[in-house]
Every structure is written in C-alpha cells, then in structure tokens.
C-alpha cells in the first residue's frame, strides 16, 4: 500500500467553469516529509491569493491558480519564450492526512501546503489473546 501523496496524472483535467481558450500549465512541485506530515510546494508565479483555488474533495487535493495577463491591453507581444496560463494539478491524498488541518501559504509565487498526519494514523497495538 502506497502511503504517499502522489500526483494522479490527471493534471490539466477539464473544469466546467474554466474558459476553454485558456492555456493550462502543470506546475512543478516538491513533496517532502516534515515532523508533522508532508509539505507540498508548487511554483505558481503570477498567482495571487485571490486567484488561488485550493480544494479538498474526498481524498483529492486540487490546486488551480489563475494568472492575470501581465501586460496592458494595448501592448503587443513582440518576443515570446514562455506561455502565460493558469496552473492546475491534482493529487490523491493518503488516508493518514488530516484533511481538517491542511494549511497553505503563498510566498513569492510559491504555494506551500502542509498536509499534517492524522493522529489516528499512529500505530495501534492490537493485543493477541493466547487461547
């Protein structure tokens, strides 16, 4: 049994409320263990707190970061090395993540999500009766 919070490979899946013409990108992530649980970091440059939508439904964590166009309306794009677009990625949470205590921060375009380990996931001793 895999206890990791793993990306599901469903990044970029369609959302009903997303405009069809928008470019959707899969942000790079780091996941590492801390003493409290797992820490997830995702690069979301250009995303504000207002533009960030972080949802947990059932055992799925989905992040959607909306990016507003950086240039004024009358600006012409004269040289392009990257595509501007929203960020989306989803993850399956393992059973030992305490959903109610998930917290998140956004610092300099990096999202940090703390996925605390649930107390009930502590090892439980089962006594075996000897007949």
């Amino acid at each position: 049994m895999n206890n990791e919070a793993l990306p599901t490979g469903e990044h970029g899946s369609r959302r009903e409320d997303a405009a069809p013409a928008r470019w959707v990108r899969t942000p790079p992530i780091d996941i590492f263990e801390t003493d409290e649980g797992l820490m997830l970091r995702a690069d979301l440059p250009g995303v504000t707190v207002e533009g960030l939508d972080l949802q947990v439904q059932d055992n799925r964590l989905t992040l959607l970061g909306r990016v507003t166009p950086p240039a004024p309306e009358d600006a012409r794009l004269i040289h392009q090395e990257y595509h501007v677009g929203d960020f989306m990625r989803s993850f399956i949470l393992s059973d030992d993540v305490d959903h109610d205590r998930i917290s998140a921060k956004l610092i300099n375009g990096v999202l940090e999500v703390l996925l605390p380990r649930s107390p009930r996931a502590e090892p439980r001793r089962i006594s075996v009766k000897v007949q």
């Binding site: 690069d43 250009g46 950086p70 004024p72 009358d74 004269i78 040289h79 392009q80 090395e81």
Partner: protein, 152 residues
C-alpha cells in the same frame, strides 16, 4: 528520492533561464520573467552599455535532507542572464517590480527626435568654389590645346 530530471531539463534543451516575454506599447517596453521562489532583495538587475543583466537565486532546499523528498521537480540554484536592449531606451528610467514571483521590467522609450533640416550648399555657385578655380590656372588650361606664344 530526488529526481534531477526537471532541474536540468532547461539546460538539456538549451533554454536560457529565465524565459522572457517582451511586450511593446507606444511609450515603453515591458519584459516579464517568472521567478517563483526568488526573493526581491536578492534579485539583481543591472543596465550598462545597452545590455540588461538579471541575476538571482531560486529557493534552496535549506535544511531539508534529501532523503525526506518524495518528489523534487522545482529547479533551484543561482542563475544569470544577459540580453541586449533595443535602441532608444531611456536607461535612467527603467523600473522593476517583483510581485508573486513575477518580475516586470518597464523600459521607457526615448522620444523620437524631431527631424532636423540640413542645408545643402551648391558649390558651383558659391564664391568659394569660383575663387579656388581662379587660383588654379592649370585646371583651366588643361583642356585647352597649348598654343605657342605668338612671336609676331
């Protein structure tokens, strides 16, 4: 386990970092770069001799042992990039903003100088040209067949 594939992806594909987009309006150019995890205090933007140099460092995994990583896709480490600026940039008034990991550089265009009329002199009719010709009798005589002075 740490995957280094993503870290070196840019290098492998020969893509310069950071990737830049350039916009233009009538008044200025706008250069944008996505730099998540960079801190504004450590961003170094320099302009000299028509070149713009950007330097910085992406977030390091400070104090996190490698064996704790389940996934490591985010690139990190120092970077530097230099680009040539377009002509007629007001280098004194370049502005830089860094918000939510997005760098915006505004480069105002210098106003187009008004056309200056330059008077063209007609040297054939100028007195200077005439006087030079007068003082140079050889030129005047060169096309004339030489006639021996009359002895009579």
């Amino acid at each position: 386990m740490k995957s280094v594939d993503m870290v070196f992806e840019g290098l492998r594909l020969g893509r310069p970092f950071p990737a830049l987009n350039v916009f233009a309006t009538d008044r200025e150019y706008l250069i944008t770069a996505e730099l998540p995890g960079c801190e504004p205090e450590t961003l170094d933007v320099q302009v000299a001799n028509g070149e713009l140099t950007l330097r910085g460092e992406r977030s390091l995994h400070a104090n996190i042992p490698e064996e704790r990583f389940r996934r490591s896709e985010r690139p990190s480490g120092p970077w530097e990039r230099t680009i040539s600026l377009p002509e007629r940039i007001d280098e004194q008034n370049i502005r830089a903003e860094f918000t939510n990991g997005l760098l915006k550089l505004y480069l105002p265009k210098l106003p187009v100088a008004a056309a200056r009329q330059i008077r063209v002199l007609d040297l054939n009719q100028s007195s200077v040209a005439a006087s030079v010709a007068d003082q140079n009798p050889q030129n005047q005589l060169s096309n004339v067949p030489s006639t021996p002075p009359s002895s009579t």
